[in-house]
């Protein structure tokens, strides 16, 4: 571990960065940094730019020389290539974008050189920074046996303490986690590898296991190999297991949720076997940064949605990752740290006190299906407005129940008598909720009538109570669509078959005629 006190003393004693690195011209790098980086990372590189308080995770503090994503051993400085990769590709799941294609090669290299001047550790040229040698993935594939080995080590080396039994970042130690700067830090949700800072490929995961994430509670497991607790191959198996928890490719956002018509009645339970056979759709959620009080650190990054209908009722299944079954007093301290770390709109007053808020979900529809102008006009996506309300289904984790009502903006919600049926399961970091309602209801003025064959607008909102989310502090989506598909009518095959018969007949006529003419030509 680096001695922080000694480091501070070093920085104080050392002359200005420019004279420390006389070999390198950092004027250009400084210009690029001041223009594009300082807003978040701060003029002195301390990660305290004007935007920093609106971000979680916070922007990197360059003065400590401490970096999460490296190819070097734990406690070592990163290589230039490591830093350049972060600059080029960005850090997924954070606010850091990739600058490749935005800044020129020369600009990115010069800003890299300038960033290193913020920490005296880089000036010490006696420390030769060398990347670790990484092995290649072992053979034997990633079948059930390989993943089983990986899972064994997931349990035995303590991954589940923070990342949880199913890897959704909900382990028993998760609510205690903070980084070296005392900011709250989430154990990664291993089901969303597209948000891993260092990349979601199995090679990236293996490297993080070898190097650890310095400055965070995530350790390096290299010493366990040295102690012969596990082999390099077994570490690969662990990486393969972690990789297997996420989809093969990052979810693609599609506009329309298709609800197939099923025989019998729609499933009311979130764990009904029907759901395994229905396509699921991913919708990203982002912070509510439009109305006071804004929320810059949404806990729910997206929802998976499935839908079926039986001609009479619709069943909508929404599942999302949530580290807590809120309210959960074990997370109150963590919630307080989030509220202290993330700036809100009431910046003058002290941060709000952590309270045991419940989890919530809202599914939003217009009151009536849009008519005219191509069916595209809808109420305001963010919970409608005073004169143009939206119809919402709401679900709350405690007391657990579902209800429906009209929202007129974020602040005003009027409950309607008719409620959807709601059944929810909380399972090790995941909520699975099924809401069902009749397609047609008596209150046609306020409750959307779900017609098959129409594009029905819908949107989603989610609150994680243990992250301090309630009211306007939430994750929001834009409008998407739900379509109740009709079963394929038997008549659907008539016209294609007819078209084929006509084509074949015409083809045969053309051939016959050509042959007759060709034959005639031969005779003449």
């Amino acid at each position: 571990m680096i001695d922080v006190g000694a480091a501070v003393a070093l920085i104080v004693m050392l002359p200005s960065p420019a004279s420390r690195l006389p070999m390198q011209d950092t004027t250009r790098g400084k210009a690029v940094y001041v223009k594009w980086c300082a807003g978040c990372h701060g003029d002195t590189g301390a990660g305290d730019g004007v935007a920093a308080a609106h971000m979680l995770p916070r922007p990197r503090n360059f003065t400590g020389g401490l970096y999460k994503i490296r190819t070097t051993a734990s406690g070592q400085l990163p290589t230039d290539a490591d830093l350049l990769r972060a600059i080029d590709e960005g850090l997924p799941g954070s606010a850091m974008p990739g600058w490749k294609g935005r800044l020129s090669d020369a600009e990115r290299r010069s800003v890299l050189a300038y960033i290193k001047t913020f920490s005296s550790f880089f000036a010490d040229t006696s420390q030769h920074v060398v990347p670790l040698k990484f092995s290649s993935p072992p053979g034997g594939g990633t079948g059930a046996d390989a993943l089983k080995v990986g899972r064994q080590f997931y349990d035995s080396i303590g991954c589940r303490k923070c990342h949880g039994d199913q890897g959704r970042g909900d382990g028993p130690s998760a609510p205690t986690l903070k980084d070296d700067a005392d900011f709250p830090i989430f154990a990664a949700d291993l089901h969303q590898n597209w948000r891993f800072r260092g990349g979601g490929a199995v090679e990236d995961i293996y490297r993080r296991l070898r190097t650890g994430l310095d400055g965070t509670p995530m350790p390096s497991f290299a010493d366990l190999i040295d102690q012969k607790f596990l082999t390099d191959q077994e570490l690969w198996r662990l990486a393969q297991y972690v990789r297997s928890l996420s989809p093969a490719a990052p979810p693609e956002v599609r506009d329309v949720v298709h609800a197939p018509q099923i025989p019998g009645t729609v499933p009311a339970s979130p764990d009904d076997s029907t759901w395994a056979r229905v396509a699921r759709y991913w919708f990203p959620l982002v912070g509510q940064v439009i109305h006071k009080s804004r929320w810059f650190a949404p806990a729910v990054s997206g929802v998976w949605v499935q839908a079926v209908h039986d001609g009479k009722r619709l069943a909508l299944r929404v599942s999302w990752d949530d580290r807590t079954e809120s309210p959960d007093t074990a997370w109150l301290k963590f919630e307080q740290r989030i509220l202290q770390t993330v700036a809100g709109d009431d910046s003058g007053s002290p941060p709000p006190q952590a309270e045991p808020w419940p989890d919530q979900l809202a599914v939003q529809f217009p009151r009536r299906l849009p008519e005219g102008s191509g069916g595209m006009e809808r109420p305001y996506f963010l919970m409608g407005g005073a004169t143009d309300p939206v119809y919402q289904w709401r679900w709350i984790s405690r007391p657990r129940h579902a209800f429906a009502g009209l929202a007129r903006g974020i602040e005003r919600f009027d409950t309607l008598p008719g409620a959807p049926a709601g059944q929810a399961t909380y399972d090790r970091g995941e909520w699975r909720l099924v809401l069902t309602r009749a397609l047609a209801t008596p209150d046609t003025a306020n409750e959307v009538q779900l017609e098959a064959g129409r594009a029905i607008p819908l949107a989603f909102f989610a609150w994680d109570g243990s992250s301090g989310e309630h009211g306007s502090r939430m994750a929001v989506s834009t409008w998407y669509f739900l379509a109740l598909d009709r079963p394929t009518p038997p008549g659907v095959f008539i016209s294609p078959v007819l078209a084929m018969l006509v084509t074949l007949g015409l083809g045969l006529v053309v051939v016959r005629r050509a042959q007759r003419r060709g034959g005639a030509r031969h005779i003449s």
Partner: protein
Amino acid sequence: MNLPSAIRRYAEHPFRQAVGILVLAYIVVVWVVPVLPGSAIVPKSVVLQYMVTVLVGVLIYVSDNEERWHRFKEPIQAVLVEPRLKLVRAAVLAGVTALVGLVAYGQVTTSVAAPPNLRSIHPAPPAEITFRGKAITLTGLENPLRQHTDSLAAYLAEGKRVYYQNCLPCHGDHLDGQGHFAPGFNPLPANFQDNGTIAQLTESFVFWRVAKGGPGLPREGTPWNSAMPVWEDFLTEREIWSVILFLYEQTGWKPRTWEKTEPGGGSRETGGGHD
């Protein structure tokens, strides 16, 4: 016989040329055009239009000359009549029939799609707006902060702070509309680096869009979808003009300016541009 001349001889035949041109056109339209900068995936109906156009062109070319037309027809004729090509003939007939069946099936089973998002990107601004109860005439209005040349640096610094604390989550570090919250919204946040946004607009137009946000859009701007906040609820008039200064400074674009005309006439917009 070397390879290039073999290829040339092979490609000399008008039928093969026609097929080659059609295949090439399809590749260009479907795979090459979408990767060109500023381009997008070509919709299926447009691909069909392009292919029909190319086909007509090819037919005009091959039928333009009697001998070429004759040679062009030879392989078609051969497939239709030659006894030794019986199998090919059957395969072509079966293939065309199956294709027609598939297309017809696709036509009758079209599923529900999202309605087209017909949206006016730069709707006409009002002549006057009310900003926190104060009337502001937009027509002919320039950024008032530009007159204070000695305080410009301070205004830019303020604009930068306002941008990073408010605009960044959507419009992004590079002002290109790719902030970390951008993927959650539709339409996507405006890309200020693009030559079609602030480069085309007067600062008074930008002021209107910032002050009134999505809910202040006229109907053709599909106000129900835009996530742009109503910034007059958050920012002062000076903060908005400051952040507008910052947008132009950071991207290097020049705002479109108003052309001053003699008394009696109004003012007109005149072109902006990149420096």
